[in-house]
């Protein structure tokens, strides 16, 4: 009570004392001014620093994204026509972020000239593959380029990364294949199947495992071969219904060899042989399983199971007929021999 009274008295004294009033007002004003200004400046500076930090964060993210870009360009193939270099390449985005490619640079190290195509707009999602072959190949103008020149090339992504194009590892294989044709056969995957009739359909027994094809029975059999397209120009190969696996038996007298044939067929995933035939496509570098089972050309005579009819050793010829790119194609692969029990 006493304290309250003395406080009240002191306040009254302060108010009624005219000498200190201006100082009090001035001090209060100054404190208010300082508080208002310092608070506003502090808050504003803080907001500016936040903006800067945000920009810094954005830039770090950009750098991180750039570092995380992982795209591989492989199996590159150059063809030269006039002053235009056509680049065929396979692209794979192995990173975790999507990538956009805008420019391809091609350097002819032989004549020390370069060219570029900056009209690309290739978008690759994570894990996506793009095959830039045939009509999707990229053309770059390069004056004076020759097919025998050495080329180096690289893509540029929108994040500023350069992606070098790697020469294909199987170039020697491709060259060998080009010497004997465009298709090679995997001899380790040469299988035969017994063919059974289930209802009105013919089925490959023990599909898809089959049995090793080098020793086989005489009747109602089918063959599976694994073919890979190694065309130098990476064109697609389409096999027609007249493609046939032909077996040749050296019967005495040798002037009259005997033969047996199995025309190409389509096989469904459950091992059933299709009664009609659609062309089999061999994409570049992709091992493809091809089946031979019919006595007739399926498109002209329908499917009918085939048997060798002879026993003993036999030479096997794989006679492929079809189209390669836009051109016609034919190749005979004569390297397998079998023993028919």
């Amino acid at each position: 009570m006493k304290v309250h009274l003395s406080l009240k008295k002191g306040l009254k004294k302060l108010i009624t004392n005219p000498k200190g009033f201006s100082s009090v007002v001035g001090t209060v004003f100054m404190v208010l001014v300082m508080m208002i200004l310092s608070t506003s400046v502090f808050l504003w500076t803080l907001s500016q620093n936040t903006l800067y930090n945000q920009a810094l964060k954005e830039r770090n993210q950009m750098e991180l994204d750039r570092l995380n870009e992982k795209v591989t360009a492989y199996n590159v193939n150059y063809t030269v026509s006039g002053d235009v270099v056509t680049v065929e390449v396979l692209l794979k985005n192995e990173g975790a972020i999507s990538i956009r490619i805008t420019t391809l640079w091609v350097l002819d190290t032989t004549i020390k000239k370069y060219g570029f195509n900056n009209n690309l707009d290739l978008n690759l999602k994570p894990g996506e593959n793009i095959s830039l072959v045939n009509d999707k190949a990229i053309s770059v103008e390069l004056e004076g380029a020759n097919a025998t020149d050495t080329f180096n090339s690289w893509f540029v992504t929108t994040r500023g990364n350069a992606v070098p194009l790697e020469e294909e590892g199987g170039i020697i294989l491709a060259q060998v294949a080009a010497g004997i044709g465009s298709v090679s056969m995997n001899y380790g995957a040469f299988l035969y199947y017994n063919v059974s009739k289930v209802g009105s359909e013919y089925v490959l027994d023990n599909y898809p495992n089959g049995s090793e094809g080098f020793t086989l029975p005489q009747t109602d059999i089918a063959f599976e071969v694994c073919l890979t397209n190694f065309d130098r120009n990476k064109r697609e190969i389409k096999l027609f219904s007249s493609s046939v696996l032909w077996m040749l038996f050296p019967i005495s007298p040798p002037q009259q060899p005997r033969g047996a044939k199995w025309y190409i067929v389509n096989v469904y995933n459950n091992g059933t042989i299709a009664s009609t035939f659609t062309e089999v496509t061999l994409s570049y570098g992709v091992p493809t399983r091809v089946y031979f089972a019919s006595y007739n050309d399926v498109n002209s005579g329908g499917f009918s199971p085939s048997s060798s009819g002879y026993s003993g050793p036999a030479a096997v010829n794989l006679m492929l007929v079809g189209k390669i790119g836009n051109s016609s194609y034919g190749q005979n692969i004569p390297f397998v021999s079998v023993y028919v029990e």
């Binding site: 200004l37 920009a55 370069y114 990364n161």
Partner: protein, 168 residues
Amino acid sequence: MTNHLNLRRVRKRVDGKRAVSVAISSVILTAAVIAVSFVVLFWAQYRSSAYNEQYSEAMNSDITKLKERLTFEYIFYNSSESNLIVYLMNWGRVDNVTVQTVFVGNTTWFTTFSNIDLKFLNGTSAQDLDIGEEGYFLLYLPNLVLRKSYSVRVITGRGSVFESTFVA
């Protein structure tokens, strides 16, 4: 009776010369303090807004500088014509990237170019590169030694520095 006494007291205060001058001086002092305080307030506000503006400009400049990114797509030295062609792409997050100065050199020698004629890839003149745009500039460099390594340092209008190396 009490009212009469109070009236006399006021009259005495008004008539008393000393007391009036103290009151007037207090009023004048208070008014002067308030006036000066307002002047100080406005001045401080003006100064702080000027500071804010300056700081904001500096900050914006730093932020745009941070967002500036250039990549060297290809650097080619044509020894027969003594020309160095530098291909750039703006992969940053800010438009209007200009090339202010270019340094070309190695550990023992360097030369500077300040009038850079920037062009788009189709050959048309470019004042600057916007986001995603590609361009090039050509420098006349007769002194480069073949098969030696050199560096190119590009300084942009905003002051960012980008560097790459090449073999002549």
